[in-house]
Amino acid sequence: MSGTLIRATCLAALLVVWQVVATWLNDPILPSPIAVADKIVEHFNQGELLSHLGITLLRVFAAFFIAMAVGSIVGILMGASKTTDSALDGILVLALNIPALVTILLCYIWLGLTDVAAVAAVALNKIPTVTVTLREGARAVDKELLQVAKAFRLSASKTLFNVYLPQLYPYLMAASRNGLALIWKIVLVVELLGRSSGVGFQLGTFFQFFDIASILAYTVAFIVVIMLIEQLIMRPLDRRIATWRV
């Protein structure tokens, strides 16, 4: 409990410092937290904040699930088989080192300025890191437990869901957390570059008008949503896994 208290106090202190500096500067280049809060309410009341947030979140989730599914499957295959590992390792290293911006530009050029291109660009950026994490997990799978499954004649699906995958949960969890953090940041860039909706697009527009209060208002709103996802989905999942982890 005291940890939460310290965290809250520090955040509050940051807000106070921000407010004091903003008041002292008295310049539109640094709007005060109160001004930003006003902007949030204003954008919210106009209705466009929620719709842009919603669209961005949809893109985040689509890219997240595609990246997790593809990255996990490839990673598990690479971790389980040496041949697959040697075959794909070169491509994986290459993919890990392609700058996010290049992937985004190429997706837009090849697939057009569409949502498909946007989601594909984000997913492609994330897949290699998921693959690396899950490959580690698949390499660490306990073969003795798989022998138990075989000796007790468990069905293939029971073996997969009750013996194999639980060993990968910690790795899936790590990949999800890093994944979400990376993906929502890239989604904004993708929207800025080639979409006419979403938080990234709005930020681009505010940038052109030097509307700093609105930029911060959108940023704060989006961060709150991401933190809620972390608190309401990621942490409870993490706690469930922690009950059996020694």
Binding site: E144, L145, Q147, V148, K150, A151, F152, R153, L154, K158, N162, V163, P166, Y169, I241, T243, W244, R245, V246
Partner: protein, 246 residues
């Protein structure tokens, strides 16, 4: 049914690398309800043999014929390993339910009974890491018995535990065997254990290994490691098979 051959083993040849043959011309038969110990020098291929019997390794020349009533048995074998090998993410009761086939409600009742029988009724919802080493081994034993296998394979199940716990586990094994009377193959390097627990002892030689000797234990009742008759047989056997017993 007494005297019926359940397990008919004939291993013509087993190797991992052709230069070093582990088992060659190994054969034996085991009848219904018999408890047979297999002993021999360390590294002679006892665990390899057990893996062949369990069907965990099918890469060998020869046959392992299992003759049992397929209509009543859900499993051909049950197995107890050197280490408990429980699923760390499943509770005690879930670890038992995992290996069951068929109706869940019915199985739950059977599993609860088995837990009580091995004295783990209060640890029903414990995860393996919350249990002591002895409890984990009892659960591992319960898992092998709960499916009521016609053939039970044990791979040095009482190794690396203190004497008192090991003796309790041995008693438990005999108690559980009384009820369902499975055919038991017990791999052990402890000759006293073999004498006190089994009806018959098979001796294996150094690799390429086969069965080189057999001894029928005539102690029908009150088997105990400290029984003077066990010591007598022990002396007799160590003289007779001096090269095979450590």
């Amino acid at each position: 049914m007494e005297g019926l051959t359940i397990l008919d083993v004939q291993i013509d040849e087993k190797f991992y690398v052709p230069e070093s043959i582990i088992l060659e011309g190994l054969k034996f038969k085991v009848n219904k309800g018999e408890i047979v110990s297999i002993t021999g020098p360390s590294g002679c291929g006892k665990t390899t043999l057990l893996n062949l019997l369990a069907g965990l390794d099918t890469n060998f020349k020869g046959t392992v014929a299992k003759n049992f009533n397929q209509a009543t048995a859900t499993h051909d074998i049950g197995m107890v390993f050197q280490q408990p090998r429980l699923m760390p993410w499943l509770t005690a009761i879930e670890n038992l339910l995992l290996v069951m086939k068929g109706d869940r409600q019915e199985n739950l009742e059977i599993c609860e009974q088995k837990l009580t029988q091995v004295g783990l009724q209060d640890a029903r919802n414990y995860f393996p890491h919350q249990m002591s080493g002895g409890m984990q081994r009892r659960l591992s034993m319960a898992r092998a018995f709960v499916i009521e296998p016609p053939i039970l394979l044990l791979d040095e199940p009482f190794i690396s535990i203190d004497l008192a716990t090991a003796n309790k586990q041995r008693k438990l094994l005999l108690t559980l065997c009384e009820e369902t009377k499975p055919l038991v193959i017990l791999v052990t390097h402890d000759l006293r254990e073999a004498i006190s627990l089994s009806d018959r002892i098979l001796f294996m030689c150094n690799s390429p290994s086969k069965v080189v000797g057999e001894y029928r234990v005539q102690l029908k009742t009150n088997r105990d490691l400290n029984d003077p008759r066990v010591s007598d047989i022990y002396t007799e056997l160590t003289t007779k098979f001096s090269s095979l017993t450590e």
